[in-house]
Symmetry: C2
Subunit: 353 residues, 2 copies
């Protein structure tokens, strides 16, 4: 059914149909009602392509997940093996939250997952084809910066979630990141409050902003409490399960052992749990472990892992809201926001004072 058909059926012009659908003023209530009734009755919906071509918005945004393995460096939200990320604990809530928030704001969400530089061309083509009004990028690494900056320069509306680097207002984009620093502060304050004075850390790969921020929060909080970090209790991991495992073996081989270890993400905490079990130690009796991310599995570990929740769903929602706002108001954007982190207290930390 075309608007023309509907128009004939009820004796108005196509223009009138369009006008009531698009909420033009100055239409008598009677006309409006008649049209609305007919729309309902005949199940009419304007052809999306025709609308878009004629200049209206198609109310479509894209959520673009980048999992491009280009440099051998594993991003902490990505899997380490070559299997595709069909159930990635980080991407999934983001995808769902973006889609959900978009729907709430009466938008549609296109999803595109790029695994290779080849796929990146397809991503670019989504913009060139004018399929969307804006896009949210997740999982960005260095490799994609060039493309993203180019898109921003072309005036496309872009929101970036959890970017490794924050480019602040230099670029007209929306940057939403978790407050990693705050998360670490909360974690360490909690451990100190429990009486821990000897706290070790397994970091993520420190060329990642998130890893660095988590380390910064850790260090600052330690020194605020007058505590020092024993060098033997520092392990530079890379956000993988294996590095959590290795980190524990490294730290617990030191002469003086810490009473708690801050593990910079939950994935590494899994490895840490394994190593601790193998050494024959008990959590939290012999050593307290605190994680980061509040990933899906953390509550299923034994014992359930105390961790820092950075709600990627909240981050995704906020990014979506800001993106659609900027699309609708066609305003220039240079937004940087951090989303609060909260401590999730479970059973992997013991009070020792």
């Amino acid at each position: 059914m075309r608007s023309e058909d509907l128009a004939k059926l009820i004796g108005v012009s196509r223009s009138t149909i369009t006008r009531v659908i698009n909420n033009y003023p100055d239409i008598p209530q009677a006309t409006r009602d008649k049209v609305l009734k007919a729309i309902e009755e005949y199940n009419y919906a304007p052809n999306a392509s025709a609308r878009k071509l004629a200049g209206a918005t198609n109310k479509m945004i894209a959520i673009i997940v980048l999992d491009v393995k280009d440099d051998g460096v594993t991003h902490h939200v990505k899997t380490t093996d070559d299997t595709l990320i069909y159930n990635n604990p980080f991407f999934s809530p983001v995808i769902n939250a973006v889609s959900d928030q978009a729907n709430k704001m009466d938008y549609y969400a296109l999803i595109s997952i790029a695994y290779s530089k080849e796929d990146l061309k397809k991503v670019e083509s989504i913009f060139n084809q004018k399929m969307i009004e804006g896009a949210i990028f997740v999982g960005t690494q260095e490799a994609e910066n060039e493309l993203i900056f180019k898109l921003i320069k072309q005036n496309h509306k872009i929101a970036l979630i959890d970017t490794n680097e924050i480019y602040s207002k230099k670029h007209d984009a929306i940057y939403i990141n978790p407050d990693n620093f705050e998360g670490s502060v909360k974690a360490i304050n909690y451990l100190v409050e429990l009486g821990h004075k000897n706290i070790g850390i397994i970091t993520g790969n420190l060329n990642k902003l998130s890893a660095q921020e988590r380390l910064d929060g850790f260090k600052e909080t330690l020194s605020r409490h007058g505590l020092v970090l024993n060098c033997d209790h520092f392990y530079h991991g890379d956000f993988t399960e294996n590095s959590g495992y290795d980190g524990v073996n490294h730290i617990l081989r030191a002469h003086s052992k810490p009473t708690a270890i801050f593990v910079s993400n939950d994935t590494m905490a899994i490895g840490a749990y394994k190593a601790i079990a193998e050494i024959g130690l008990k959590i939290p009796e012999d050593i307290s472990i605190i994680g980061f991310d509040n990933s899906f599995i953390s509550s299923y570990l034994t014992p359930p892992l105390t961790t820092v929740d950075i709600s990627f769903a909240d981050i995704a929602k906020r990014a979506t809201t800001l993106l659609i706002d900027s699309v609708e108001n066609n305003k220039k954007v240079g937004i940087v926001e951090k989303i609060h982190a909260t401590l999730i207290e479970r059973e992997s930390c013991k009070r020792i004072n």
Copy 2:
């Protein structure tokens, strides 16, 4: 950049541009090369809306996730609480796999998650607006049947994943389900091979096809081995963690206890683990547990859960492939397929012979 601009730039007509893009025959290689080079150079991509409006395909399918809570009955793939399903162990791999397979076949995927009957109208409007060439539905319940049948009758291409009922070739749609029966057979054969003769079962809600099929496979395999099901060892659960917990408490209160319990999904197995721990029993020393679904957390349970893997990624890929095939060949479809289930042997079952 429009095709006309490009055309002028290299001295051909718009038609020629279109023809090389759409791979028309009878274009001299020289012309083709010239156009291709210009497309590359100027980053030209045909406007998606214009293409679609002019009659070409927009290569877009939708993945529609239904999580409509209408009847108080919890579908086994849905969460039991009211929080949105941002990390559902079932939906996420489906979404990712559909998107991935679509991209591989050079299609785009729109994602829409419906939580209410209100949202269902938006879903219908996606079809009415002609935004897509076809759609894959996941999580269907009775409530949506009416809409889906209507869409099928309107000749929309539809694939249904894990439908509660299979409507066979009565409806021109694609039905892809896991082979639940086969999965149960494999699980029980495995337990029998380990020497178990006394096997209990916690079922899902039996108005669900999947629950019934899993039960059927269980019963048939038992009787094929000349084993009987003690009525006290049967518990009618509903696929929720709580019912797994209740199921164990019910079954282990019987006079004669089983040596193994077949728990019809991993979510219930989590509850079962809890109940068993509370009773003071050890898995698998005191009782063997086998699950179903191979959900994300199953390998993180203690001990890691032996379970049946029904790859929803495979199901989703197959559905996507068949859907796009049917879109491209515009063929009538009435396809019903089952995807193999495989046993994932971990550490929750003990050999007792």
